[in-house]
């Protein structure tokens, strides 16, 4: 088991390394006009070359890549932001935004995941019943209506109803309510959907019939056998849901002026802030891969049939 984990971790590092190399090269294949904002026209060719030289963009790409990796590994220095927050270390730019996204995200997951799973369980109890119909309707509407639309509507009318400020303020607890509710909605939907599906799968199994024959009461069967077994595949999602809060929520953060991580990557790419893009890519891919690894480990922990060994997980 330990050998397996070590091997997975090493492979993860290799994956992240490959990703960062690809992104690094891609960034440098974009047209250079983007580095100048609107000033491209105002400069002579010589001046442009000078600025590019100072940004370190005139060296051949492999040399640039080598320097970047060397700096990263020996000094743990990911560089300074060049456009988003000029001359601020990218780690600071990121570190200033991570806590707020994680806070909102964790609360939403903590509320939304149990609620979603509960909804999924209620939906599965009676096929075609009230809960099932209501829950399916909810998931369908949430998927059909584009997120920006319902989110803006919630913001405009919800703040009126609650008497809350339209955007988030640090000193107003009331202003956190609507962003969190909005974040919970898709979380509830996806958890309910999958939970219901796994529950229905379980209910139809032979060993559930055996439990009935064994004279186990129905409610006990429902929770101790059906639910307990259905949760197993759900656990695969849990680590990534928690770690994924670091990615932020781009639409909600934009609407509510939450200074989080969502949108930072896009803004960085558009602004051609290479150092920040690279740092974010490393971070996001590492978290994603690590989240998947944890998910697999969690499943192995919870499902005794899964034995992780060198040949790869039995899934």
């Amino acid at each position: 088991m330990l050998a397996y984990i070590v091997k997975r971790v090493l492979r993860s590092i290799l994956s992240v390394f490959i990703i960062i190399c690809i992104v690094f090269v891609l960034l440098r294949m974009l047209p250079v006009e983007g580095y100048f904002g609107g000033r491209y026209d105002l400069l002579t060719e010589e001046q442009r070359q000078m600025e590019l030289y100072r940004m370190g963009l005139l060296d051949p790409v492999p040399v640039q890549l080598f320097n970047f990796l060397r700096q990263l590994v020996t000094e743990f220095d990911l560089g300074l932001s060049s456009r988003i927050r000029v001359n601020v270390p990218v780690t600071t730019v990121i570190a200033d935004r991570v806590p707020i996204s994680v806070q909102f995200g964790l609360i939403s997951v903590a509320i939304g995941m149990p609620l979603g799973m509960a909804l999924g369980v209620m939906m599965s109890r009676k096929k075609g019943g009230v809960w099932d119909k209501a829950g399916t309707g909810y998931v369908a509407i949430l998927n059909a209506v584009p997120a920006p639309v319902y989110m803006v509507l919630i913001q405009l009318y919800g703040t009126m109803l609650l008497g809350a400020p339209l955007t988030f303020r640090f000193d107003s607890p009331m202003s956190r309510v609507l962003p969190i509710i909005t974040m919970c909605l898709p979380i509830i939907a996806i958890n309910a959907f999958w939970m219901r599906r796994y529950m229905v799968d379980e209910i139809n199994r032979d060993y559930i019939k055996l439990a009935q024959i064994k004279n186990v009461p129905t409610t006990t069967i429902f929770f101790r056998h059906v639910f307990r077994n259905a949760v197993v595949p759900m656990t695969n999602l849990i680590p990534l849901s928690i770690l994924g809060t670091i990615w932020g929520q781009i639409i909600i953060e934009r609407l509510y002026s939450i200074p989080g991580m969502g949108g930072l990557l896009i803004d960085a790419i558009l602004a051609r802030d290479n150092a920040l893009v690279q740092a974010l890519v490393i971070m996001f891919s590492a978290i994603g891969i690590f989240g998947l690894l944890l998910g697999d480990l969690l499943m192995a922990f919870v499902d005794p049939r899964i034995r992780l060994h060198k040949k790869g997980a039995a899934r």
């Binding site: 105002l42 570190a95 000193d171 928690i242």
Partner: protein
């Protein structure tokens, strides 16, 4: 069951660890956000009994009369709330030229030698007066004495001297720092370019030095008549600047303030709080105590609603909701038009060197565009008023223009540039140069002449547009239809082509991929000087004019081009900013329009806005992020009626001020 409990415990520990780790991710110790939103004022004036420090902060403004002209009433609490969609990337006023968000954002905390008053006219800033040498090559600025630099907590840190300006020059021209403001210094100032490229390393060789503690002397490479317009040099406190080097301006506590406000709180991507700086030299004219800005990327959608709820004091009512507002009796009386911004102009331009594909018949176009009658037909046939209605259905007349140079942009000796002959002749046409009868005349003439040259009809005219620009897609449709209706589909066939939304100018304008297109430029290159509107048609370094008319291949067009160059070159030699210089530029522009090389369109600034302050009060602009000096918040939104009256007052006063502009003193040294 035991297994399950182990699992739950592990999950809880893991989550807590993760939350803790990310929560402790910040290394530095900035002031806690949101903790202290009151006026934090450890920066007390020197306690009594201490020797009088030169930087005495001014007393808070005296109680003012709570009502203003035309029935407006001022608010008890003078706090400005605004929302902004683009975050600043740095807090360094002399590294902000690349972005409007930065230059606007850094404005309240800084000031330069001169400042603009609420009429947009230059007036003394940190320099109380100035002189120019008789040959126009050297300027001297006299800096106010006794002004204090303060930090973000309003603690005085040091005195403002002329050396502060020199410190900025050295910082900006430092090759290691890569400041985007370097254009301010070269090529105008002696040896500035050499310092920036590293050809010389001694900053003392640059024609920008402090000849005593409060006198700054600037030497130019050649006389610039409009130099005061571009003399917006800003200072920085040298010891602080050296301490932080390239990290100056990376946060509100690595910046010092000399302007009317201090940035006491700054959370990038969330909010900023400016508080009135009692140490500012003109603090008694600053009535706003605090300005709170919220960042929101969706300001178009949320802005108007925030204004309604009192969470912001300004909003732009965009064209998709302006109808809603005008039909809502609660708010319809609050919607005011935008003030024309004469620093940016749009015009229609022909392309004389077509590089587009054969489906648009470039050779045919080349014949047509070089025929003056054809151009004149288009010139008088375009109905720019109708086209602009797509962008602003209500106040289009405020923005349309009969000339390339905007009205109100350049005024000398009491006369506006556009009202000088021969250019003023274009004002006699009533409908913004739309003259159907004349257009038809020229059309017939063009048809005859072009048929003789072997052109085919209808002439295909490629109309390109950038789909990302608001309103342009609709506008180009209206233009096309209107030309067909007037000139006939058998004469002209305007074909609309969507341009790429990325790098539009490179792909379309520079590559000559259009026949007729709306073009623009700003006056930043020569503010307040008519030469600003000539660069699009005659670049001086590389003749890469935007209409490519030096490569037209037609002798007639070449002649017109050469004549224009002659007029421009002559005008540029007149280095004193006065009527003679302007007359020369006036002649050049008349020449351009007379031969229908370019067709004027409109100036920016259109839109509908709502205010909770009088926009005509503020020194430096009418928008929510500028012009806080002199401005007063109202306790009610401004009505359109009040706006009209105030605007009329403002225009009248402005004319008077301009007529009485003093001449620049000439130093006798």
């Amino acid at each position: 069951m035991k297994r399950f409990l182990k699992l739950i415990t592990a999950a809880v520990i893991f989550t807590l660890a993760f939350a803790l780790f990310t929560g402790c991710a910040r290394d530095e110790e900035p002031p806690a956000p949101g903790a202290d939103t009151n006026v934090s004022a450890p920066g007390q004036p020197p306690a009594p009994g201490q020797p009088d420090a030169p930087g005495q902060p001014d007393a808070p403004p005296a109680v003012v009369d709570m009502t203003g002209p035309h029935g407006i009433r001022f608010a008890q609490e003078q706090v400005l709330h605004f929302v902004y969609p683009t975050e600043m990337t740095n807090l360094n006023p002399f590294n902000s030229a690349d972005s409007l968000a930065n230059s606007e954002g850094n404005q309240p905390g800084s000031e330069s030698l001169l400042r603009r008053d609420n009429f947009g006219l230059l007036s003394p800033g940190l320099a109380h007066s100035w002189e120019v040498s008789p040959d126009g090559m050297t300027w001297r600025f006299f800096i106010r004495e006794g002004l204090q630099w303060v930090d973000h907590q309003m603690n005085p840190v040091g005195e403002l001297t002329a050396d502060c300006f020199v410190a900025v020059m050295e910082w900006v021209l430092d090759p290691e720092i890569m400041s985007v403001n370097h254009h301010q210094f070269h090529p105008r100032i002696v040896n500035a370019y050499e310092l920036w490229t590293g050809a010389i390393t001694d900053p003392n060789l640059v024609g920008f030095r402090a000849i005593d503690t409060h006198t700054l002397e600037i030497q130019l490479t050649s006389p610039i008549p409009y130099f005061l317009e571009v003399a917006g040099f800003q200072p920085a406190y040298r010891p602080f600047l050296e301490q932080h080097g390239m990290f100056y301006g990376t946060s509100n506590y690595t910046t010092l303030y000399i302007g009317p406000f201090v940035l006491t709180e700054f959370i990038p991507g969330h909010m900023r709080v400016w508080e009135r700086n009692p140490f500012y030299w003109d603090a008694e004219n600053v009535h706003i105590e605090r300005a709170v800005g919220l960042f929101n990327a969706e300001v178009n959608v949320l802005g108007p609603e925030m204004f309604r709820r009192g969470e912001s004091d300004w909003a732009q009512i965009t064209s998709d909701i302006v109808d809603l507002w005008l039909n809502d009796p609660e708010v319809s009386h609050l919607v005011t038009p935008g003030i024309p911004d004469h620093s940016f102009q749009w015009y229609f331009m022909f392309n004389f060197d077509p590089q587009f594909g054969p489906e648009f018949e470039p050779d045919n176009w080349r014949l047509a565009v070089n025929n003056e009658a054809f151009r004149q037909a288009i010139f008088w046939g375009i109905d720019s008023h109708r086209a602009l209605l797509t962008l602003d259905p209500f106040n289009a007349n405020l923005y349309l223009s009969n000339t390339i140079t905007p009205r109100g942009f350049a005024i000398a000796d009491g006369v506006d540039f556009v009202d000088m002959a021969p250019l003023s002749r274009f004002h006699q046409y009533p409908n913004w140069l739309h003259y159907p009868a004349r257009a038809l005349q020229f059309r017939d003439q063009a048809r005859a002449e072009l048929t003789a040259q072997g052109a085919t009809f209808p002439i295909i005219m490629k109309l390109s547009y950038n789909p990302n620009t608001a309103g342009w897609p609709l506008e180009v449709q209206v233009l096309r239809q209107q030309l067909i209706d007037l000139l006939g589909a058998d004469f002209i066939n305007p074909v609309i082509q969507t341009g790429p939304s990325v790098d539009f100018l490179t792909a379309v304008r520079r590559q000559g991929q259009f026949a007729l297109m709306k073009g623009n430029n700003g006056s930043g290159v020569a503010p307040g000087d008519p030469s600003a509107w000539t660069f699009a048609f005659s670049r001086s370094e590389i003749d890469d004019s935007w209409i490519h008319w030096s490569r037209s291949g037609s002798a007639e067009t070449q002649r017109i081009h050469d004549e224009y160059r002659e007029l421009i070159d002559h005008a540029r030699t007149l280095t004193v900013q006065n009527r003679e210089r302007w007359q020369a530029f006036n002649n050049a522009e008349y020449h351009l329009l007379n031969h229908a090389i370019v067709r004027p369109f409109y100036t920016i600034g259109s839109g509908s806005f709502v205010f909770r302050y009088n926009p005509f009060d503020g020194f430096g602009g009418t928008g929510p992020m500028v012009g806080w000096v002199g401005r007063r918040m109202l306790d009610h939104p401004l009505t359109a009626e009040q706006w009209t009256l105030l605007h009329a007052d403002w225009e009248a006063e402005r004319q008077t001020r301009i007529a009485n502009t003093p001449a620049i003193p000439v130093g006798n040294w």
